[in-house]
């Protein structure tokens, strides 16, 4: 029931994910950070098999750092996304990773971008996207409410509406979410959305 969603606005991108770590009927923890900060200006929201998720995102992060140490410049978002896709594609027919990825980044020359990379290494640059059961509720909301060049407040408001919908309509819905943002000032945590008492309240309260 993991959900990851992302949206590109005017010179920034937002990635949100739920923070539950669940195994069968047990919730191991409810503050698991699934949006990894790859480097100063990149975010990778990942969902899927827990071991694969952590291993693969750390692998990408460390390779990114290695590139930067070797070459003294950071890798661009597009190159990072293509590298990630390449790793997933190479592993696909040997030892596949079950991880779905939304990679967001900011480059000075290109602006903000968001890439959809699913677990079988399908690669596409998108403006808005979501993974998981939550996607069934979020994607149509985004189609209706998304506009290009939204401000941060508008984008986070859209994400909040998606979170509200997930809480309300998904059975065994994750309640707590983390929202991270990446813009010219870097990649950082923007907000957390915490637990609410009842589904009807979930329809009105998000903080």
């Amino acid at each position: 029931m993991e959900c990851v969603l992302g949206v590109v606005g005017r010179d920034f991108a937002v990635v949100a994910a739920d923070t539950s770590a669940v195994q069968s009927i047990l919730v191991h923890k409810s503050d698991e950070d699934k949006v990894m900060v790859l480097d100063s200006h990149k975010l990778m929201g990942a969902s899927g098999e827990p071991g694969d998720r952590v291993q693969f995102t750390e692998y990408i992060q460390k390779n990114l750092h290695l590139y930067q140490f070797r070459n003294n410049i950071p890798l661009s978002t597009a190159a990072t996304a293509n590298f990630t896709r390449g790793e997933l594609a190479t592993a696909l027919r040997k030892n596949p990773y079950s991880v779905n990825i939304l990679l967001a980044g900011y480059d000075a020359d290109v602006g903000a971008s968001l890439y959809y990379i699913d677990y079988i290494a399908t690669f596409h640059k998108i403006e808005k996207g979501a993974f998981g059961y939550g996607a069934y509720f979020c994607l149509s909301l985004m189609d209706k409410l998304y506009r290009p060049d939204m401000s941060v407040e508008e984008a986070v408001d859209l994400v909040d509406k998606c979170i509200k919908e997930i809480r309300l309509r998904l059975v065994v819905a994750p309640q707590k979410f983390i929202i991270k943002i990446v813009d010219k000032d870097g990649a950082r945590e923007y907000a957390r959305r915490a637990y609410t008492d009842s589904p009807s309240e979930a329809a009105t309260v998000t903080a």
């Binding site: 959809y116 290494a121 399908t122 998108i126 996207g129 994607l139």
Partner: protein, 204 residues
């Protein structure tokens, strides 16, 4: 659901008078869910050679990267572009190398060969080439495409008429297929120019 129907796709190529047209739909889906409506399936190899890849999107992207890599090596060694017939054989070989663990895509190859003679062909996922003089189709909408192309096609069409014909055939076919659609990319290639147009149809 078959692995070929996982993402949904429709690709068609047609031969005209000293020109060819190649078109694809724009939907990227994950089974019933639509992920994107601006996904490209037709790629340029060189100015007079295009390849359209239907089937599983990840394999289409991987195969495209491999094919471009091989073509660039060829260009470095031979100092010229590959002929479409040669390229078709290259694609066929690349696919057959994976005979017992194939790439799940069906390429459509279209190009202008010697003397700008149009050439089209398609292969199945294992590399079995199918040459044609008129049109080739592939993807989830292929059966509809066969019917639409057969009825609308005429030999020796000029580029503008060819564009109309291939667009109408594509639109009619994807409208009957839930897994493909959301518009189309249509490229008409003549010896002197390439015109790419994005067509809008039923956006569902």
């Amino acid at each position: 659901m078959s692995i070929f129907e996982y993402n949904g796709s429709a690709v068609v190529a047609m031969v005209g008078k000293n020109c060819f047209a190649i078109a694809c739909d724009r939907r990227l889906g994950v089974q019933l869910q639509t992920v994107a409506t601006d996904f490209r399936r037709v790629f340029k190899v060189h100015d007079k050679l295009y390849i359209g890849l239907s089937g599983l999107a990840t394999d289409a992207q991987t195969l495209y990267q491999k094919v471009v890599f091989r073509h660039k090596l060829y260009q470095l060694r031979e100092e010229r572009d590959m002929k479409p017939q040669t390229f078709a054989s290259l694609v066929s070989t690349l696919l057959y190398e994976k005979r017992f663990g194939p790439y799940f895509c069906q390429p459509v190859i279209a190009g202008l060969g010697d003397d700008d003679e149009p050439f089209i062909c398609t292969t199945d996922c294992l590399g079995a080439k199918e040459l044609a003089k008129d049109f080739v189709v592939s993807g989830t909408a292929s059966e509809s495409l066969y019917g639409a192309c057969e009825s609308m096609y005429k030999p020796n069409m000029e580029p503008e008429e060819l564009f109309e014909t291939i667009s109408q055939a594509l639109q009619a076919s994807v409208d009957r297929d839930c897994l493909s659609g959301w518009g189309g990319y249509v490229l008409v290639v003549t010896p002197t120019e390439v015109r790419e147009r994005v067509i809008k149809g039923r956006m569902d």
